[in-house]
C-alpha cells in the first residue's frame, strides 16, 4: 500500500481532521501534484466510454453469423424451446441489416453502423463478452460498477479515486446523459458508492448543464462577488482559530474551484467555436434533433478530454421504453434500430476520427459497451430479440489496444460465447491495466472487505494489448 493512498483515503473518509503534512491540494479535485500515481506506466491517460443503454444487438451490428442467414426461420438447434427473459423464443432470424467487409482487415460490420464499420481497422472487438444478469438495471450496474446490486462505486469513480484529477477547473469524471433521458440504472452508473463523494461523476451534457453552476438570476455578478468576498473574510477569520485544520482550508479551496468551474464549464460546453467541418463530421448539423444533440455530446466528450477531464461516460440510449428510446428491441427491432442507428453511427465515428486526427487517440481509450446482447432468434410472436447475457460484443479503440483485431467468439449463431469467454470483470481489469492500474491493488475498505471494481474476479486480457 502506497503511504499516500492510505493517507488520502483516511483523509477523505473524515478520520483525519488534521494531517498537516498532506498537501491541501490532495483534498480536492484540483490535484495536479502526483499524490495519486498509476501502479505502473500507463498507455492511456483518458477514457471515453460510449454506453449503449438497453442492450444493442451484437448479431445485427458487429458479430457476423452466416449460419443465421442459412438457418433463418429455423429453430435454434438444441434449444428450440428456449425460455429467456421475457418468455419463449421463436426461430433464428437473419441479421436485419446486411453485413459487408470493411477496411483493410475486411471485418464484417453491418449497414446499421456503416461509418463505425469504416473504422474497423482502428477497433479491437471483444466478441465473447458475458454478463451475470439478464435484466437491464442489474446488468447495467455490472457493466458500470462490477456488481449487479446498487450502491457500488462506478468504474469512473474508481479511476478518479486511483489516479486523481489533472484538472484545476473541471471535475475529473463527467457523465454525459443521452438527450432522450437517463439510462436504466440512472445515477448508479456514475455514483461513488462507498468511495468519497468527491470522486463521483458530475452529470453534464450539451442539453443538461451542471446544477446550480451559476447564481440565481436575481443575484448580479457584482452582488455575487461581494458575497463571496464576505464569505472568504469569514472563512479566513474562522480558520485562524483552527490552525492546521485541513478540512477548513479544503472548504475554502472548494469554493475557489467552484468559481473556476463557473468560468470554465460554460467555455467547455460552448460549441460555437467548433468549425463547420467538425460539426459536419459528427453529424451535429443533422436535422434530426436527437442525432444532433448526441453529436454535440460527442463533441463535448472530446472537448472535456482536451481540457484534462480523465473519464467521460457518454450515454447513447435512455431508460426502458419498449425500445422506443433505447436499444431494447423486443418487439419491432428493425423499425426502432433504424432510428437509433442513425443517432449512434455518425457521431461515434466522427468522435473516433476527430480524436485520431488530433492525435488524441494515442492517449485516449475509447470504449464501446452495452449491458448485454440479444438473441439470434426473434421472440415468439414478435419482431424483436430478447436479452442475451451469454454472449455479446463490446469494443475498444485507441490508447494501448490492438487495432483491427477481434478477440473471442460466440458460437455459430451468436447465442453463447464459446472462445476466450470474457467476463465484465476481465473487461474492467483490462481497462484499468491500460490506465496503469492493477485491478487487484485498487482497493477500498468497506463493510468487512477490501472492495475492488472487479470484486474477487477478473484477469487482464493480454491478447488485446498493443
Amino acid at each position: 500500500m502506497v503511504p499516500n493512498r492510505l493517507s488520502r483515503r483516511r483523509l477523505l473518509s473524515g478520520s483525519a481532521a488534521a494531517l498537516p503534512q498532506i498537501a491541501l491540494a490532495s483534498l480536492l479535485a484540483d490535484r495536479t501534484s502526483a499524490s495519486e500515481k498509476p501502479h505502473f506506466s500507463a498507455k492511456a491517460k483518458n477514457v471515453i466510454v460510449v454506453f449503449c443503454s438497453g442492450a444493442i444487438s451484437h448479431v445485427d451490428t458487429f458479430d457476423f453469423k452466416p449460419e443465421l442467414l442459412r438457418l433463418n426461420g429455423k429453430p435454434l438447434p438444441g434449444n428450440a424451446k428456449l425460455v429467456s427473459f421475457q418468455g419463449p423464443n421463436g426461430n433464428l432470424t437473419a441479421p436485419l441489416w446486411k453485413f459487408r467487409p470493411r477496411g483493410q482487415s475486411g471485418k464484417m460490420v453491418s449497414d446499421l453502423v456503416p461509418r463505425i464499420g469504416e473504422l474497423a481497422d482502428e477497433i479491437c472487438f471483444f466478441h465473447s463478452m458475458t454478463n451475470k444478469s439478464n435484466t437491464h438495471g442489474p446488468a447495467e450496474n455490472v457493466m458500470n460498477t462490477g456488481f449487479a446490486f446498487d450502491g457500488f462505486p462506478s468504474m469512473g469513480s474508481w479511476i478518479n479515486f486511483g489516479l486523481g484529477s489533472e484538472n484545476k477547473n473541471l471535475p475529473a469524471f463527467v457523465a454525459i446523459e443521452d438527450p432522450r433521458g437517463m439510462p436504466q440504472s440512472g445515477p448508479n452508473n456514475w455514483a461513488s458508492g462507498f468511495l468519497p463523494a468527491s470522486v463521483q461523476g458530475t452529470p453534464l451534457s450539451t442539453t443538461m448543464p451542471i446544477r446550480y453552476l451559476q447564481p440565481p438570476k436575481s443575484v448580479s455578478s457584482k452582488t455575487d462577488t461581494a458575497a463571496r468576498d464576505a464569505l472568504q473574510f469569514m472563512e479566513q477569520n474562522f480558520q485562524r482559530s483552527y490552525p492546521g485544520d485541513n478540512q477548513l482550508a479544503g472548504r475554502i479551496a472548494s469554493y475557489e474551484l467552484a468559481a473556476r468551474m463557473q468560468m470554465h464549464v460554460p467555455e467547455v460546453t460552448d460549441l460555437s467555436q467548433e468549425s463547420a467541418h467538425t460539426l459536419k463530421l459528427y453529424g451535429a448539423d443533422s436535422p434530426d434533433k436527437t442525432k444532433a444533440a448526441f453529436a454535440n455530446n460527442c463533441i463535448l466528450a472530446r472537448r472535456l478530454i482536451e481540457s484534462g477531464v480523465r473519464f467521460v461516460q457518454l450515454f447513447n440510449g435512455a431508460y426502458a421504453s419498449g425500445g422506443r428510446i433505447n436499444w431494447d428491441g423486443h418487439s419491432k427491432l428493425k423499425e426502432q434500430y433504424d432510428v437509433h442507428g442513425q443517432i449512434l453511427d455518425q457521431p461515434v465515428a466522427g468522435l473516433l476520427r476527430d480524436l485520431k486526427q488530433r492525435g488524441m487517440l494515442e492517449s485516449t481509450l475509447v470504449v464501446f459497451a452495452t449491458e448485454f446482447g440479444r438473441m439470434p432468434m426473434f421472440q415468439a410472436g414478435t419482431y424483436g430479440r430478447d436479452h442475451n447475457p451469454l454472449g455479446f460484443t463490446c469494443w475498444m479503440a485507441g490508447a494501448g489496444v490492438r487495432k483491427g483485431y477481434s478477440y473471442g467468439a460466440t458460437d455459430e449463431f451468436g447465442f453463447k460465447a464459446v472462445e476466450n469467454v470474457a467476463t465484465v470483470h476481465d473487461f474492467h481489469a483490462t481497462i484499468l491495466h491500460l490506465l496503469g492500474l492493477d485491478h487487484k491493488r485498487l482497493t477500498f475498505y468497506h463493510n468487512g472487505i477490501q472492495r475492488r471494481l472487479t470484486d474477487v474476479h477478473g484477469k487482464v486480457i493480454r491478447d488485446v494489448l498493443a
Binding site: P171, R211, A227, A230, S254
Partner: protein, 943 residues
C-alpha cells in the same frame, strides 16, 4: 453393521463382530483405513492439503476437517453418502478444471472405488470417530477479541473527577504523552450537545443564557425533546439502508413503509431498552409491534414482475432477498459481515458458509410486503366494517332484485363459460365491442369445450349418441391442432401475441395474455383442426375485461357463423366503468340502463370501501409463512447447486441454536432473538455502544461500526468499550444512560482547538486529546437552515414529504426546487428514494440507501459550494432568514447583524466582522449576508 458406529465401547468388540459376520459380503469388503485409505491420502493429497497452510483451506489429515470442508464451505465428504461427495467428484475429475490432484497422476479407478466404499461405510477413521480421544471438535473456536465475552473492567485511577470514561481516556493519553484540552467555551458546548442530540443548533432561547444554565439540565431537556429521536433514528436508518422504494430498475414506491420510521423515532424518544428494540424488530408479529418489522425489509428487493421467468432467476432472486435480510441483521445488530460467507467460508472471520445458510434458514418463512398494522387506528377501521358490509349486502340485494325484475342473467364472471345445445362446429369466435375499463381487450385463453358425447374423433356423432366413454375437453388448443387469429395484438415491451390464447397456460406468473393493439372493438377466433361437437365456449379474462361481446361458433352444417351467446342479456359488472350512455342492454330503455348503472356504481364504491376497511392499517414490513421452504447450502452460492439442507442456526462460533430442519417458523426467530439479547452475547452491546459513541465523537472506539471482525479495526480503547457495554446491560439496556455518561465526561466537553504538539503525536485525535471537529450531516444542514429562516415545521410522524416530482418508479427523477410548509419538515421526514441522490444535500455525503452506511464519508467538493451558494432552496431560505431578522429587530444594521449571528452561530458579531459585513448588508442587502452565513464553516461545523 449399525453396531460399527455405536461408539467406543463397541470398538473393542469389533473384531469379534467382524468374525461373526465374516460371511456377509458387505462386511468382507470393509475398507481398512490405515492400510488402504491413509496411504492414498498421504501420497496424493497431503502435500498440499496438510496441516500447514492447506490449499483452499482444506485439510485431509483430519476426519473432522474433511467433514467440514475447506474455504468453499462445502463438505469434502459426508459419511455414508459417497454419492455427491465433493472429494469423489474432484478425484474423478467430473469438472476437468478442478480435477484433483491438479498435477501428477490421477487416482486409479480402483482407488476411487475404494474411497467411495470407505465413505459409504461411514468414513471410519480409527481414533477420530466422535467421542474418541483424537476426534477433533467440529465447533469453531476463535481468539478474536470481539467474540470473547466481556466483563466489566476495573476503572483506572484518575484524580480529576469521578467520570469513568475520562479515566479510561486519560490512561491512554497519559501513555502517549498527551493530555486533555481545556474545557470548551459554553457556547461551543451548547452547540455541540444540541447538534449531537438533536441535529439542530440550540434555539436562541437556550443560547441566550447558556452560561447560566446547568449543563445537566440542558442535557436532560435535549434528551427529552422529540428532536432527539428524529436525529438518532436517522443514524439507525443509515445503518440498515432503509428506504421507501424497492430499488433496482423499477424502484417502485413502498407506500406504507413510513410507519417504521415513526416506530424508530418513538423507540429512541421513549428510550426503549435496546434488547427490546431488537426483539420487536425481529418478533414484532408476536409482540404486537408490526411496524417494527420494517427493519427486516429495509433493504432492496426485486418485484416479482422484474424477475426472469426461469427457475434459476426465481431462485436467485429469493436468495438475493434473503441476503439483504442477513446483511441487515448481521451487520446491523451483530457487527459481523456474515454476508461474506454466501459463496464460501468467510475469508477472515470464523464464519462458515454453512453458518450463512443456517442464518438464512431462520428467515426462510419471511417475505417482503405489506402487513396489517395493528393498533388503535386499525381498530377504528375494523369497527366500521360490519356497518359498511351491511350496506354492501343491501345494495347487492337491491341490484339483484333489479336484475331479476329486468329478467337479466347475472353479470359476466372473470372466467365465463357459455353453454348451448351441442353443435357440430369447426371454429369459435369472440367479438368484443367494449371492455370494462375502456382499455384494449385482453384474454389469457379462449376455449371451446366438446359436448360429452364427443369422443374426439371424426366419426358421425349421431351414430355414437349413446357413447359415454369420453368426457368434455377443450378442443381450442394448439396442441389439438387448432389455429388462432385475432384483429391485432399489442407490440408492447412484452409478448402479447394471440398465440397465447390457445397455449393452454393461464398461470398468472408464467403466462402472457393476448392484448389487442388498441382500445376499442376487437375479435379473436380459433379454427379447429377438425369439425367437433361442442356445447360450451369459455374465456379467461385479463386486465381489459370484455363486457360487451358476442360469442359465435361456425356451424359445419351451414358453414355460417352463428351467435351462441351475448353479454347484452346480462347485468352489468360492478367494475364496468363505461359511461351509462354507451351501454346497450337488449330490451331495456336508456333510462332503465341508467338505473342499473347507478346502483351498480354504488355497489362498486361500497365494495372498495369495505375492502379498504377490512385491509385496515398497513405497514411495509416482514411477513411470515408458517411453512418455510427448506434451506439449502449452495455450492459457490449458486442457487441451482444445492449441497445439503441446513437447520436454522447462528454462526457456530457464537454457539449454534439447537433447532431441527423443520423447526416452526416463529421458534426460529425466537431462538435468534433470545441469543442476540442475552446479556452475555459478546457483540450486541459492544456494537451499539460503539455506534452511540461514534455519533458523539465522529468516530467509534471501533472505526468500522458494522464490522467487528478481523478486517474491521481494533478498538482504540477496548476496556472503555467493554465498560460501556457493561453499563448498558446493567442499566436495562438504556441508551439514554449511555448518552448521559458520555455527555457528562470531560472528554466530551473539552475544547476542539488543535494544539500543534498534540497534532504531531496524534493527528487524527484518535486518542481524544481534543474534541474532534467535524462537518454536520446533510440532514442537519437542511434542518439548521430552516431553523435559521424560522420556517422549520416541527410536525412529527406520518407519510414523508417529497424531494422529487415522483415517489418511485423508473429513473429520470426531477428534484423539486421549492418547497412549502410541508416540505419544511425535518429532512428525516423526506420520502426516501433508494439510489437517488438528493438535490443540494446529496453532495454532502447523504447516503442513498443503496448500501448500508454505518458511517458517512465527509467529502469536500465544489458541487457542495455551488449548491449552497446558488440553489433556489438556499437563496429562498436566506430571504426568509433576512425577513425574520427584520421582523425581529427592525432596520438597524448593527442589530440585524447581531441577531443574524445569534441565530446562525449562537454568538454576537465581533467588531471586525461587523465592519466587514455592514458593507455587504448596506450595499447588497441583508439577504446576501444571510446567504453568506449559511455558507460559512462556522455554520456547518460541529466543534
Amino acid at each position: 453393521m449399525k453396531l460399527f458406529t455405536s461408539g467406543p465401547i463397541f470398538a473393542s468388540l469389533c473384531g469379534f463382530v467382524l468374525l461373526l459376520v465374516a460371511d456377509n459380503s458387505a462386511a468382507s469388503d470393509a475398507v481398512l483405513f490405515e492400510q488402504e485409505i491413509l496411504p492414498l491420502l498421504q501420497s496424493h493429497c497431503v502435500d498440499c492439503h496438510g496441516a500447514n497452510d492447506p490449499e483452499s483451506g482444506l485439510r485431509v489429515d483430519r476426519r473432522s476437517s474433511l467433514i467440514r470442508g475447506g474455504d468453499s464451505g462445502e463438505a469434502a465428504l459426508t459419511p455414508n453418502q459417497a454419492d455427491g461427495s465433493l472429494l469423489l467428484q474432484l478425484v474423478r475429475g467430473d469438472d476437468a478444471d478442478r480435477r484433483m490432484p491438479p498435477e501428477g497422476e490421477s487416482l486409479s479407478t480402483d482407488e476411487i472405488a475404494l474411497l467411495s466404499r470407505w465413505i459409504d461405510q461411514g468414513a471410519k477413521w480409527p481414533g477420530q470417530m466422535p467421542g474418541q480421544k483424537d476426534a477433533q471438535d467440529d465447533t469453531l473456536q476463535s481468539d478474536h477479541w470481539s467474540l470473547q465475552p466481556f466483563s466489566r473492567p476495573k476503572v483506572p485511577r484518575f484524580d480529576q473527577g469521578n467520570n469513568a470514561i475520562d479515566a479510561f481516556i486519560n490512561k491512554r493519553l497519559d501513555a502517549a504523552g498527551l493530555t486533555f484540552s481545556p474545557p470548551a467555551d459554553s457556547i461551543s458546548i451548547a452547540r455541540r450537545v444540541s447538534f449531537v442530540l438533536t441535529g439542530l443548533p440550540p434555539s436562541d432561547s437556550v443560547t441566550g443564557d447558556a452560561k447560566e444554565r446547568d449543563y445537566a439540565t440542558m442535557v436532560d431537556e435535549l434528551l427529552a425533546s422529540p428532536e432527539y429521536g428524529q436525529r438518532w433514528a436517522q443514524h439507525w436508518l443509515d445503518v440498515i439502508r432503509w428506504a421507501e422504494t424497492v430499488g433496482f430498475e423499477t424502484n417502485s414506491e413502498r407506500k406504507q413503509a413510513w410507519p417504521y420510521r415513526d416506530w424508530v423515532i418513538d423507540a429512541f424518544n421513549s428510550d426503549k431498552p435496546y434488547d427490546q428494540f431488537i426483539r420487536e424488530q425481529i418478533l414484532g408479529d408476536e409482540l404486537g409491534q408490526d411496524a417494527a418489522l420494517g427493519f427486516l425489509v429495509a433493504g432492496p428487493a426485486n418485484l416479482p414482475g422484474q424477475i426472469g421467468r426461469d427457475e434459476e432467476a426465481m431462485r436467485q432472486s429469493r436468495q438475493d432477498e434473503l441476503d439483504e435480510v442477513i446483511q441487515t441483521v448481521s451487520q446491523g445488530i451483530m457487527g459481523l459481515t456474515i454476508g461474506c460467507a454466501r459463496c464460501h467460508n468467510h475469508k477472515f472471520d470464523p464464519i462458515l458458509q454453512k453458518d450463512y445458510y443456517s442464518l438464512q434458514a431462520i428467515f426462510a418463512g419471511m417475505s417482503y410486503g405489506d402487513r396489517r398494522l395493528r393498533g388503535e387506528a386499525d381498530d377504528r377501521l375494523t369497527d366500521r366494517v360490519p356497518a359498511e358490509a351491511e350496506k354492501l349486502r343491501s345494495l347487492i340485494a337491491k341490484a339483484d332484485s333489479l336484475r331479476v325484475q329486468k329478467k337479466l342473467r347475472p353479470p359476466l364472471p372473470s372466467f365465463p363459460k357459455e353453454t348451448f345445445d351441442p353443435i357440430l362446429a369447426d371454429g369459435v369466435r369472440i367479438e368484443i365491442m367494449a371492455t370494462n375499463n375502456d382499455g384494449a381487450a385482453s384474454l389469457y385463453e379462449l376455449q371451446a369445450w366438446t359436448s360429452e358425447h364427443d369422443n374426439g374423433a371424426e366419426e358421425d356423432v349421431s351414430k355414437n349418441a349413446s357413447s359415454q366413454s369420453s368426457t368434455s375437453r377443450n378442443i381450442a388448443l394448439a396442441s389439438n391442432g387448432s389455429r388462432v387469429s385475432a384483429s391485432s395484438f399489442a407490440l408492447a415491451n412484452q409478448t402479447r401475441h394471440f398465440d397465447n390464447l390457445i397455449d393452454g397456460s393461464s398461470d398468472r406468473r408464467q403466462a402472457f395474455p393476448w392484448v389487442a393493439a388498441k382500445a376499442g372493438p376487437a375479435w379473436a377466433q380459433v379454427d379447429f383442426a377438425n369439425s367437433t361437437m361442442i356445447n360450451a365456449v369459455a374465456w379467461d379474462t385479463s386486465s381489459g375485461v370484455p363486457v360487451d361481446l358476442v360469442v359465435k361458433v361456425r356451424d359445419v352444417a351451414t358453414g355460417q357463423w352463428r351467435a351462441v351467446a351475448t353479454s347484452r342479456d346480462r347485468m352489468l359488472r360492478t367494475d364496468d366503468i363505461r359511461k351509462a350512455e354507451s351501454i346497450v342492454i337488449d330490451g331495456l330503455s336508456q333510462k332503465e340502463v341508467k338505473e342499473l348503472w347507478s346502483v351498480n356504481q354504488s355497489v362498486n364504491r361500497t365494495r372498495l370501501s369495505v375492502n379498504r376497511l377490512k385491509a385496515g392499517s398497513r405497514v411495509y414490513a416482514a411477513r411470515f409463512s408458517e411453512n418455510p421452504a427448506a434451506t439449502w447450502q449452495l455450492r459457490r452460492g449458486d442457487p441451482m447447486q444445492r449441497i445439503a439442507m441446513v437447520p436454522p442456526s447462528t454462526p457456530v462460533v457464537l454457539g449454534a441454536l439447537s433447532l431441527g430442519i423443520d423447526a416452526p417458523e416463529r421458534t426460529r426467530r425466537q431462538a435468534l432473538v433470545s441469543q442476540l439479547t442475552s446479556p452475555h452475547h459478546p457483540l450486541t452491546a459492544r456494537v451499539i455502544v460503539n455506534r452511540i459513541w461514534q455519533h458523539h465523537f465522529g468516530i467509534g472506539i471501533v472505526e468500522t461500526p458494522s464490522d467487528f471482525g478481523k478486517m474491521g479495526s481494533l478498538p482504540s480503547h477496548p476496556q472503555l468499550l467493554d465498560w460501556l457495554a457493561s453499563e448498558l446491560v446493567d442499566n436495562n439496556w438504556s441508551l439514554k444512560h449511555i448518552h448521559r455518561l458520555i455527555l457528562n465526561s470531560k472528554t466530551f466537553q473539552q475544547s476542539s482547538v488543535p494544539r500543534p504538539a498534540a497534532l504531531q503525536l496524534d493527528a487524527d485525535s484518535r486518542l481524544l486529546w481534543r474534541f474532534p471537529p467535524r462537518r454536520i450531516e446533510a440532514e442537519s444542514i437542511r434542518d439548521s437552515i430552516l431553523q435559521a429562516s424560522g420556517k422549520l415545521n416541527s410536525q412529527m410522524g406520518g407519510r414523508g414529504f417529497n424531494l422529487f416530482q415522483q415517489r418511485g418508479g423508473l429513473s429520470d427523477y426531477k428534484p423539486l426546487e421549492t418547497f412549502d410548509h410541508e416540505g419544511w419538515r425535518r429532512m428525516i421526514y423526506a420520502h426516501k428514494i433508494r439510489m437517488q441522490s438528493v438535490d443540494v444535500f446529496g453532495t454532502f455525503d447523504c447516503p442513498d440507501a443503496g448500501q448500508m452506511k454505518p458511517r458517512r464519508t465527509q467529502s469536500i467538493t465544489p458541487l457542495q459550494s455551488l449548491s449552497l451558494l446558488n440553489s433556489p432552496f438556499v437563496n429562498r431560505q436566506a430571504a426568509f432568514f433576512a425577513s425574520r431578522i427584520e421582523d425581529e429587530v427592525g432596520a438597524d444594521l448593527n442589530a440585524q447583524i447581531d441577531r443574524a449571528f445569534e441565530i446562525a452561530f449562537s454568538r454576537k458579531a465581533t467588531d471586525p466582522e461587523r465592519i466587514e459585513l455592514i458593507k455587504l448588508v448596506r450595499d447588497e442587502g441583508l439577504m446576501q449576508m444571510c446567504r453568506v452565513l449559511i455558507n460559512t464553516s462556522e455554520f456547518l461545523y460541529l466543534r
